[in-house]
């Protein structure tokens, strides 16, 4: 699952340059394809992801190799996708919520509740390996996830509590609920059908990667093939104007919080299935922050409005790759958080058009240039600089 498989509806004119459309002249002219690529919204996040991946090769030479063993694909790249699956899911839900101008802090709690409920149900079954039992457990968890989403949505849309406060309630209380469900213990189960959600394979690929692919496909279809995406962006871009064109903003908001909680519930199933246990305390802990970060790296603004599903997926992959990188290059445990923070700051700076402008324009009149040469308008200026001009 790569970003190129995610269709985006619009070419999205580059707002940093005031919307001056350069598309027409670049088309068809050989040697200028990279200009179009440079202007693509996803260029910088994807570049950051590639740099991180390449960094790994210096430490693990077989990093890019993927091999087939007993009909299953293995390799570091597959592992990144596999372990990143819950985060991608949560970030996808978060994308829509953020697009409406909201935020959902409760996803981590929902992850914990969903895993706890499923594991509790299966642990009470006489035959833990029964497929029906596992399906009922999954249905219960997803159903509860939807209910929790409705709760968040109603607090935000109907009662009018600020999203960050409304979802904080469930963030704190939800952890408590998860611990109540597990009675404060870690529930371990031994169910092979349930274990397949996180650890199973289908068509050589890990099952959770396929789930993520399905959710991405569903989301793209829902938002870009129907008018849902337009309405979400409209509500996030100008709520009052949306009301005055007859959009039911409340319903849209409840829907996105439901979708977000549903994604978190699926992620909760994956995480608990992976370890065949439910930990009310630690499952999905701080995943909301990683998810918000993934959305922002992907180019969706925290103030709401336009959202980018492909960007979010790349953002989540960057975060997961970073976690993997920390292990492969052997950052000391006590420095991991600092290392992570530094990389995130660098990625965010790369993303910022204002920052790039500043750095590159300084380089242009930098001291390494021969004196006396007027830097501006030089025909031999590096390609990157020209794009900024």
């Amino acid at each position: 699952m790569t970003t190129e498989t995610t269709p985006e509806r619009r070419p999205a004119p580059d707002r940093s340059t005031g919307g001056a459309a350069p598309a027409a002249p670049t088309a068809g002219r050989p040697g200028t394809w990279w200009r179009a690529a440079l202007r693509h919204r996803l260029f910088w996040p994807v570049l950051a992801l590639l740099l991180l991946l390449i960094l790994n090769v210096f430490f693990t030479h077989s990093f890019f190799s993927i091999r087939l063993q007993q009909g299953h694909l293995y390799g570091s790249l597959i592992s990144i996708l596999l372990f990143g699956a819950p985060l991608i899911l949560v970030a996808l839900g978060m994308t829509l919520v953020i697009a409406t101008g909201g935020i959902d802090l409760s996803v981590g709690a929902v992850v914990a509740i969903s895993g706890a409920l499923a594991c509790l149900y299966i642990s009470k079954e006489s035959d833990q390996n029964s497929l029906t039992g596992m399906l009922v457990a999954v249905a219960l968890s997803l159903g509860l996830g939807l209910v929790l989403g409705i709760w968040n949505g109603l607090l935000v849309a109907r009662i009018g509590i600020q999203p960050i406060v409304a979802t904080l309630i469930l963030m704190v209380a939800g952890r408590g609920v998860a611990q109540l469900i597990t009675s404060g213990q870690i529930i371990t189960i031994n169910s092979s059908p349930y274990g397949r959600i996180g650890g199973g394979y289908l068509l050589t690929l890990p099952f959770s990667i396929l789930i993520v692919a399905a959710v991405v496909a569903l989301l793209v279809t829902l938002t870009r093939r129907t008018a849902l995406g337009l309405m979400v962006e409209s509500v996030g871009g100008n709520a009052e104007a949306s009301r005055l064109v007859g959009i039911n903003a409340r319903r849209i908001k409840v829907m996105v919080y439901m979708f977000c909680a549903l994604c978190a519930a699926i992620a909760g199933l994956m995480i608990s299935s992976n370890v065949s246990a439910a930990d009310g305390n630690n499952a999905g802990l701080w995943i909301e922050l990683d998810a918000i970060l993934a959305v922002v790296i992907g180019g969706t603004s925290l103030t709401g409005g336009r959202f980018y599903i492909g960007g979010t997926v790349v953002g989540a992959l960057i975060i997961q790759t970073l976690t993997t990188t920390i292990y492969t290059i052997g950052v000391p445990t006590q420095s991991t958080l600092v290392f992570k923070a530094v990389v995130v700051i660098c990625v965010c700076l790369m993303q910022s058009p204002a920052f790039r402008q500043k750095v590159f324009s300084r380089r242009r009149r930098g001291p390494d240039r021969p004196a006396g040469v007027a830097p501006a308008g030089q025909p031999d200026v590096e390609p990157r600089l020209e794009v900024q001009a």
Partner: protein, 539 residues
């Protein structure tokens, strides 16, 4: 009063913004113990003059003297220190702090670094009592209604004027403890407010609250404070003010004692035309055609507009005339369900309908272009295409998207028909000029094929060419049978386009005049000024 020295004198004030001459050579005088109205239409330069006076803007030319001393006011803080206090339309206090904290913020009684809370409350209570208010000064300001908050803002602004003029030296008598409290505040404040500027203080107050405000103003006036009062309610001006200064297009029209200028003449001076010039015929008068599309019967909303009756027929243009703040927009919003009415009912095709939400009005083929393009119209970061189809798409529901080719064809057709430039549906709408943004909004609603189109100030802030185009469009829409409610501050536009003219004044629909050869801008202005239809031409 003429012999007295003005407390404030502004001479030859000019202020230019890029492309606009906001003020040219304006004189303004304010005497102690008077209430002075500053009048003019929207954009006449009132707020610019106030902002020069309060140091928000620096004038390009002209001089200001305060108490006969030339001053140059360069910041709001300096204005305050010089004794010029301002209370703006939107109360800018902190509702979460107590009344006492709000009043004495920045000049609290302190001992060392500690605030003396008890004394602070005593002082605040005394200041509040001086203007005739009974408040618990320890309660959060937000607990009180807006009118009281407005009064607290005034107390904060002028708090200590009263004592500054005499009570300070006494301070010995213990029975006058209150006096000393105030004196203490006066000392800390270091200056007395001698000029109080009230910018539209009454716009959100009801009649009783206005009375309360006026009695405070009269008290302050008796104590020698000079008050500059800005209001769009002409009746209030005549009730409370002594003199007035009229601005038009950034120029001084004149300074008049209120008693010597009747409302009729005042409106003429504000709008800037003599009655004689306006005795001309209007064109485009067509008889109203068709059945009533919408009938409003006793529809009203407390605080927005008094209950009104209004019929709009198919093919008819109903224009609304009235000064800013007279309730034009409020009327339109009720008919669209943007605000739910709290009385009366609306009939569409003779059948009663509930218009409590915009979606309900849109379902009945009503469209509304708000006067606030940015805040209530456009979704700036979406493309022109998305903005154009938004209303139609909302009516279809999210599950039934417009098919791509049909959508593109519709958008292209309307871009062409309205001549939206640049004609590129993929641009973000925020990159278009004001006139083109307005056309995008018109396209958004025309695409839904409404039966009643409500246009609130569709020509405001756009260039002359686009203005003419939009007016032509209104004429051709009504010829095709659409009912139009047309709101504009420009009387000519309303006269030129309307079959029927509804006149609003002080949030009331006071007259409906059938537009024909005999109707002139003068007659409309008379109605606006007098509040009564001149010859009973109710339709």
């Amino acid at each position: 009063m003429a012999q007295q020295q003005p407390v404030l004198e502004m001479t030859g004030i000019s202020k230019e913004f890029p492309g606009v001459r906001a003020l040219s050579d304006v004189d303004f005088r304010l005497f102690p113990g008077e209430i002075h109205a500053l009048l003019g239409e929207n954009g006449a330069g009132k707020s610019t003059l106030i902002k020069v006076l309060t140091g928000v803007y620096d004038q390009d030319a002209g001089s200001v003297t305060l108490d006969g001393q030339p001053v140059r006011i360069t910041s709001p803080l300096q204005a305050q220190k010089a004794g010029i206090s301002t209370v703006y339309q939107e109360v800018n206090l902190c509702p979460n702090l107590s009344v006492a904290e709000n009043i004495l913020l920045g000049r609290e009684p302190v001992r060392g670094t500690k605030i003396r809370w008890k004394q602070m409350r005593r002082e605040a209570a005394e200041l509040v009592a001086r203007v005739g208010l009974q408040l618990d000064v320890a309660a959060p300001l937000g607990n009180y209604p807006l009118a009281i908050q407005q009064l607290v803002a005034i107390v904060r602004a002028v708090g200590v004027t009263a004592v500054a003029d005499g009570a300070v030296p006494t301070g010995t008598a213990t029975e006058e403890a209150g006096q000393t409290e105030v004196a203490a505040v006066a000392e800390r404040q270091g200056a007395r407010a001698q000029v109080l500027i009230l910018d539209e203080p009454t716009s959100s107050l009801d009649r009783g609250e206005v009375e309360q405000l006026f009695s405070v103003m009269r008290r302050l006036k008796a104590e020698g404070v000079a008050i500059l009062f800005v209001s769009h309610f002409l009746d209030q001006i005549y009730e409370i003010c002594d003199r007035m200064t009229i601005l038009r297009n950034g120029r001084l029209v004149g300074e008049y004692p209120v008693r010597e200028l009747d409302q009729m003449r005042l409106v003429q001076l504000m709008i800037g035309r003599d009655l004689g010039d306006l005795e001309e015929l209007t064109e485009h008068i067509r008889p109203a055609v068709g059945e009533p599309v919408i009938q409003a019967q006793g529809v009203g909303r407390v605080g927005a507009i008094a209950p009104f009756d209004l019929d709009i027929h198919a093919g008819e243009v109903v224009g609304l005339a009235g000064l800013l703040g007279s309730g034009r927009t409020e009327l339109a919003r009720l008919l669209f369900g943007a605000d739910p009415p709290d009385s009366g009912h609306v009939l569409i095709d003779g059948r009663p309908v509930a218009l409590r939400r915009p979606a309900a009005a849109i379902h009945h083929s009503i469209a509304y272009c708000s006067e606030n393009r940015r805040t209530e119209g456009l979704v700036p970061e979406l493309t022109v295409r998305d903005n154009v189809i938004l209303a139609l798409q909302a009516a279809r529901g999210w599950i039934r998207p417009l098919p791509g080719n049909q959508r593109d064809e519709l958008v292209d057709r309307y871009i062409k028909a309205l001549d939206i430039r640049p004609a590129n549906p993929d641009l973000p709408v925020s990159s278009l000029s004001g006139g083109n943004q307005q056309k995008v909004l018109l396209a958004r609603w025309l695409i839904t094929q409404p039966r009643l189109m409500i246009l609130d100030e569709p020509t405001r802030g756009i260039d002359v060419g686009a203005k003419a185009e939009i007016q032509k469009l209104v004429v051709s829409l009504s010829e095709d049978g659409m009912a139009v409610l047309y709101i504009s501050a420009e009387l000519e536009e309303v006269l030129r386009l309307s079959h029927t003219i509804g006149v609003l004044r002080d949030r009331k629909l006071v007259a409906q005049i059938r537009n024909d050869a005999g109707v002139t801008a003068g007659r409309i202005m008379e109605t606006i000024a007098s509040g009564a239809s001149p010859d009973g031409a109710q339709s």
